[in-house]
């Protein structure tokens, strides 16, 4: 202990950890927010067995018979709608398809760009044709596959880990540094022989103190609530997360390196974070973006980090297989740290 007592880097890091730990709000956002988010998204997108979609039969002669024919279909739920409200129900997504009876000919009214509506059209048509006596020519049997590791929640959890590392890296550093600057504490520290690199490093090291708890909590929750597991080694996962925490703390330090007001730093943090939230494939695969954007998206630290986390969690990739991604993350961390050290405003 007495050795630590005279080690400035250790004391600075301890100070960071204490300050953070004594700030209940910061702790809440770091530890519980990602769990709340995972829970909400996990529920919203949980697998519900075979998908059932609502279709509407527009009231009129023959409507009742149509509805009865559809009632038996596995993946459809049917309701009869007055013509006046049918259009609105379709627009609002209450039903995916409206069936308009018309004697021998029925009309399907739907938006073909909506996957759900296309599904509803196929299922409806199938059910109606069978009810009308169509016989299948090819015998088929089905084999349902529901593999762990391929569900949405499996995809989501590594993304949320990355997102949280980004969030705590930026918000954990930005406000603290600016508050220290406006309160002239930075100036006071400048008047001591403290090494400037120690000061900045302490933010990175302090993150380690919380990272283990943060990661363990989220992984445990994902496992208990949704059965999300880790295919690869936990040690590899922890290493990658630590690298990510370092890198995003570096980004946070750079963002906070010149700002003089909380508003200013808040704007800069959003500027840094929002593109990554959108582009880095947290909630849906980044592949959806056009090809011209891909090189840029791939170069973002959050994309690389989340790709590496997914490779370990979902595919059980060994550390060596993630080297390319980790290189990108490490470069961002080192680059931002160096830039922050060079341009940091101490008063």
């Amino acid at each position: 202990m007495s050795r630590l007592e005279h080690a400035p880097l250790a004391q600075l890091t301890l100070a960071r950890i204490r300050e953070f730990g004594r700030e209940p709000e910061a702790v809440f956002w770091t530890f519980f927010f990602p769990i709340v988010l995972a829970f909400a998204l996990g529920i919203a997108f949980r697998e519900r067995g075979p998908e059932r979609v609502w279709v509407g039969v527009q009231a009129g002669p023959g409507a009742r018979a149509l509805a009865a024919a559809l009632q038996g279909a596995d993946n459809l739920r049917v309701r009869v709608l007055e013509p006046a409200v049918a259009g609105e129900a379709l627009r609002d997504g209450d039903v995916a398809l409206v069936i308009v009876p018309g004697g021998a000919r029925v009309t399907y009214r739907y938006d073909p760009t909506r996957p759900e509506s296309r599904l509803a059209r196929l299922a409806t048509d199938d059910a109606l044709q069978r009810a009308a006596g169509r016989r299948d020519r090819v015998a088929v049997s089905e084999e349902a596959v529901e593999e762990r590791g391929s569900r949405y929640i499996d995809f989501l959890i590594p993304g949320l880990i990355g997102l949280n590392l980004l969030g705590t890296g930026l918000w954990g550093v930005g406000y603290t540094v600016v508050r220290m600057r406006t309160g002239k504490l930075l100036k006071r520290l400048l008047a001591t022989p403290m090494r400037r690199s120690h000061f900045l490093l302490s933010f990175m090291l302090a993150r380690l103190g919380f990272l283990a708890a943060e990661l363990a909590l989220l992984l445990f929750f994902a496992w208990v609530a949704f059965g999300v597991g880790v295919r690869g080694s936990l040690a590899t996962l922890a290493f990658i997360a630590a690298l990510g925490a370092f890198a995003f703390t570096g980004v946070g330090l750079l963002v906070a390196s010149r700002a003089r007001t909380l508003e200013g730093v808040s704007g800069l943090m959003n500027l840094a974070a929002v593109p990554m939230w959108v582009l880095s494939g947290i909630f849906f695969s980044a592949e959806h973006f056009p090809d011209v954007m891909q090189p840029f998206i791939r170069a973002l630290p959050l994309t690389a980090l989340v790709d590496a986390l997914r490779a370990v969690m979902l595919d059980g990739a060994p550390l060596a297989a993630t080297a390319g991604w980790l290189g990108i993350v490490a470069l961002w961390g080192a680059g931002c740290f160096g830039a922050a050290l060079a341009m940091f405003r101490w008063r």
Binding site: E5, R18, R22, L185, A191, T192
Partner: protein
């Protein structure tokens, strides 16, 4: 007596080396000249005071000396080193208390001092420093739960914990109650008695008079007068100040008539109050009363006090040091 500090080659070889020496210091902010060609020499082992009203340029000067501000012109030498070359070695030997620092709210008193202690190669034990500023009882309290006077003492503790050779204190006693102020004075005196150097700023003349070996009176970024407190007061040529005002606000005596009273060396009037600088109260007061009675003027108030640095400042600038 009243003198600009000027380098004196004959003297400087005999005296201990200067702890601080600066020449032609200038610092401008947009349209304000905060420090206007300042020369200063603080001798090793003395307690030196910068005394001046708000905006005089005390903080700007001291922060330039602390290496925290870049002057626009001029040279600074501290403990024989310059900021361009010996910055790190210099910081090891300085203790600094800024006029305002918001120390980390969520750290305890003890943790804060220990943090500052860790930056220095040598220093004093944390408990000893807390004892010295009388914060031992509060050592487990968060900084955010301290009173402003306790925070001020904590800031001084952080400056003392490195056992510095040179201590910079920027208005160390502002906001302290009389008892804390006196105990901080004693602390500074002990520090100086151990042969170390102190440079402090203040706008309390009684503080400067009690603590400082030498005082520089500053206004508008310049030094108006420099010397020991006794020298500065003696420069008034008289030891007492007699202030009075008349009931009807006027109809009294003219400047020349007042000056003709026995023992009067200076006459000043502001807001209907007349201040006479006098050599002996007991000769001037009867003469003044006689004169007023003869004219049928009646006194509203009359007071006398020993001449202080405040009076020196008033004579130099025509203003008071602080707004009462």
């Amino acid at each position: 007596m009243l003198s600009r500090s000027s380098p004196d080659p004959d003297l400087s070889s005999a005296l201990p080396p200067a702890a601080v020496r600066c020449r032609g210091l200038i610092k401008r902010y947009d349209d304000v000249v905060a420090v206007d060609g300042l020369d200063l020499e603080v001798r090793s082992g003395e307690c030196f005071g910068l005394l001046g009203p708000n905006g005089a340029g005390k903080t700007t000067t001291i922060e330039i000396l602390e290496g925290l501000l870049e002057p626009d012109a001029g040279s600074v030498e501290v403990l024989g080193l310059t900021w361009a070359h010996g910055a790190r070695a210099l910081r090891e030997r300085l203790g600094v208390q800024l006029q305002e620092t918001r120390l980390a709210d969520k750290l305890t008193v003890e943790e804060t001092v220990r943090l500052f202690r860790s930056f220095y190669r040598r220093g004093r034990p944390v408990q000893e420093v807390l004892e010295a500023v009388q914060l031992t009882e509060k050592r487990r309290s968060w900084v955010s739960r301290l009173s402003s006077g306790q925070r001020q003492r904590l800031a001084v503790a952080c400056a003392l914990v490195s056992e510095p050779d040179l201590l910079f204190l920027d208005e160390p006693t502002t906001g302290l109650d009389p008892q804390s102020r006196r105990s901080l004075w004693e602390l500074i005196e002990r520090f100086r008695a151990a042969g170390r150097t102190v440079l402090l700023t203040t706008h309390y003349m009684e503080e400067a008079a009690r603590l400082c070996d030498r005082v520089a009176i500053m206004d508008h970024g310049r030094i108006l007068a420099l010397g020991t407190p006794a020298e500065l007061v003696a420069s008034l040529g008289a030891e007492h100040v007699l202030e009075f005002s008349l009931a009807d606000g006027g109809g009294g005596l003219s400047d020349a008539e007042l000056r003709a009273l026995p023992g009067v060396t200076r006459v000043r009037e502001s807001n209907g109050r007349i201040a006479l600088t006098v050599r002996e109260v007991h000769t001037t007061v009867p003469a003044l009363l006689d004169e007023l009675r003869r004219r049928g003027a009646s006194l509203a108030s009359l007071s006398t006090h020993h001449a202080t640095l405040e009076d020196v400042f008033m004579v130099l600038t025509g203003r008071r040091l602080r707004d009462e």
